[in-house]
Amino acid sequence: MNLASIPPIPVDRLRFEETIHPGGMWSHVIKRHTTLRLTDLEGGANVSVLLYNPLFPSERYNMADTLKGQHIARLTKPYCLYSDMGRIFFSITEDTCGWHDTICGVSHAEMTLAQYGEGRFQELRNRFYRNGYDNLLIELEKWGLGRKDLVPNINFFSKVTSEHVDSGRLIFHVGHSKAGDLIDLRAEMDTLVILNTCPHPLDPAPVYSPKRVKVSVFTSEPPAADDPCRLSRPENTRGFINTERYHL
């Protein structure tokens, strides 16, 4: 999808926007039929995301169900982000980037130190070097969640391919996401979103350089009978039924 053809968010639908500090964290309960737009402002961003049912947080984003149900190994429009209970958290309704990773996890403190060197608050103040693992835990703990709730995450705006179907060797694609690239996630049920913008764990850059990301929340139309995500695969048609029944 071409960036130029994405219309701006209508003013009467926009709820609020925030720009996330590079490497920073954010969390919010996105309400059903509201869309969360993530925009890579500078290019080369990574947004690590976990999703939970706010009412029953033992229901959470499930990488395996999302991938195998839709026969995909990457996320893009018109696919859906599934919980482990056969329900859809988000449908991907717009995507200018074309590929988002969900198999490589997040960076940890030791690897951040090894790759970028020491970057403490004492010297760098709020540009100190953060890692995805600790940042996920900080934001999870704010909602009463913790280590038991860590599961394979999404890395929006990052592309990691399997080199060959026989080798399975992973290749990280530098420069995949461009300035202005965006993805729209339409909530099919109330969803607690936990995210941070630390670099992807396979990003080879020698310098710690997370990017600024904008989050925008706007109301959107409920999916119609001919909604492209609903009809993208028979599996997703059933996923929408499961999610709609949950609200009855």
């Binding site: 394979p152 060797r169 997703n236």
Partner: protein, 216 residues
């Protein structure tokens, strides 16, 4: 690590300190001590063995599919693979593998995902998630619950990923008698569901028993 690596083991089943055959479609939960070797044998060929590992001293530290894949730079598990925990520590190392490829992206089947993948009416078919839940609910060791059921390994399962980003459940590459063996680098709780799935070829449409052995 890239290509599949077939390796045999010098260990003989008669030397095992533990030897049990898990019937088709049933769960199994057990402990493995640091330094012991754990072998799973695909007795009749192409049986998916859904497996989770926990650090016995701190079960909140558990097997991490994403850290394991990322650290070795490839998505399939075989000889030499280090099975990493959520904290980046090595839990077990695969020391022998006569099958050659094991999956850790496909996850476990569940009643709920079966309704999405196949049909709403298939909700009541037996599945791995139910096995995992009944095993942990009744486990007398450190408390485990649904929050501890995370992305598992599927030993003997073949789930190729294409460069274009596609993923399918293919016919298995395993065969009768194939085994995978791993050495524990910490005290482990191992949780297995011997998969009962009948709707795709992960068990060659015929769930069968598997044998588990532990060696000192």
């Amino acid at each position: 690590m890239s290509e599949t690596t077939y390796t045999t083991s010098p260990l003989k089943p008669e030397d095992a300190v533990y030897d049990f055959t898990i019937p088709a479609g049933e769960p199994w939960i057990h402990t493995i001590q640091k330094g012991q070797t754990f072998r799973i044998v695909d007795l009749e060929g192409n049986q998916a063995v859904d497996t989770l590992f926990y650090h016995a001293d701190d079960v909140d530290e558990r097997y991490s599919a994403s850290d394991t894949i990322r650290a070795q730079g490839s998505i399939y598990l075989t000889t030499g693979t280090k099975l990493l925990s959520t904290e980046g520590r090595v839990m077990l190392v695969i020391t022998a593998d006569t099958c050659g490829r094991h999956d850790t992206l496909g996850g476990a089947c569940a009643a709920e995902s079966n309704t999405v993948r196949y049909a709403l009416e298939k909700k009541f078919m037996h599945n791995c998630r139910d096995n995992f839940l009944v095993a942990v609910a009744n486990w007398q060791g450190p408390t485990l619950n649904k929050r501890d059921i995370t992305s598992n390994i599927n030993f003997f399962m073949n789930v190729p990923v294409t460069p274009e980003g596609g993923l399918t459940f293919e016919d298995g590459v395993s065969a009768p008698g194939k085994y995978v063996e791993m050495r524990a680098e910490m005290d482990i709780v191992v949780l297995i569901s011997n998969c009962p799935q009948l709707n795709n070829p992960c068990n060659a449409y015929n769930p069968t028993p598997v044998r588990v052995l532990i060696f000192n």
